[in-house]
């Protein structure tokens, strides 16, 4: 009786150890992948901003809190701006931080636009932060961020 108990205990421990190793092996590549991903979107942000520091706020990202289908997630991005000849939004850069290709789009406006707002639909590979950076004619930047939870990822990944 005791013998059976012991062997069961060992096998349970062996199983526990084995599964820890499996988890470690499985998480390692994912962690590396996540790191690459971070670099990709960070590089993109750097490309947009250069040495400038964006001011948070004035950029509104309207998106569903939970997107059931990552293939088509509706969004409305708008910037609080008078859109006059002197004071307008030149562009809005949209970045999906955890997509295989984080660049979503760049939308360019003119004072003729009247309102710095755009509506479209994006693909989201998984739950992530969306960043919108607004570029002003004087070289300043504004930014906004929003987290979207994705049930089924898009991007055909």
């Amino acid at each position: 009786m005791t013998h059976t108990k012991q062997s069961r205990a060992i096998s349970r421990r062996a199983f526990a150890l084995g599964s820890t190793a499996a988890v470690a092996a499985a998480t390692l590549p994912t962690a590396l992948l996540a790191q690459d991903q971070q670099q990709a979107w960070e590089e993109l942000v750097k490309k947009v901003l250069g040495d400038a520091k964006p001011v948070e706020g004035k950029v509104a990202i309207e998106m569903p809190e939970i997107a059931e289908n990552g293939n088509t997630v509706p969004f409305v991005i708008s910037v609080d701006s008078p859109m006059t000849e002197k004071d307008f939004v030149k562009a809005i850069h949209v970045i999906a931080t955890a997509n295989p290709q984080p660049g979503v789009a760049t939308f360019r406006f003119s004072p003729l636009s009247g309102k710095a707002a755009v509506t479209s639909r994006m693909r989201l590979a998984r739950t992530q932060d969306i960043i919108a950076i607004a570029e002003l004619p004087d070289g300043r930047f504004l930014s906004g961020k929003r987290n979207v939870k994705v049930t089924i990822g898009g991007c055909g990944g």
Partner: protein
């Protein structure tokens, strides 16, 4: 891009009005990330540029990346400067260009 794009404008507008312009075009927007059944990567094929001009002046432009969904829907605004015609242009990776012209009914 075989079917004609769809454009939605207000029925009429006055000078100075802020109007919304809605556009929709059929396109697969192939991301370049997917693989076919035989394991080969399906090459990227997306609409990369969309522009809208009114009476010859650029109102709005979009540089699209694979993160934009298939059949891109894009809506934007314009403050009506006077009577005129819109010209919308979509260009994809194959160089295919679709141009659509629509008059705005300015009253």
């Amino acid at each position: 891009m075989t079917t004609r794009p769809r454009i939605k404008l207000p029925d009429s507008a006055k000078v100075g009005d802020l109007i919304e312009i809605k556009t929709l075009i059929s396109h697969l927007m192939e991301t370049g990330q997917r693989k076919s059944a035989d394991g080969k990567t399906i090459p990227r094929h997306i609409i990369n540029t969309f522009t809208a001009t009114y009476a010859g002046a650029e109102v709005f432009r979009a540089e699209l990346h694979p993160g934009i969904s298939a059949n891109p829907f894009i809506a934007f605004h314009m403050k009506v400067p006077g009577p005129g015609e819109f010209e919308f242009t979509w260009i994809d990776d194959a160089g295919t260009k679709v141009v659509e012209r629509t008059k705005l009914n300015v009253v």
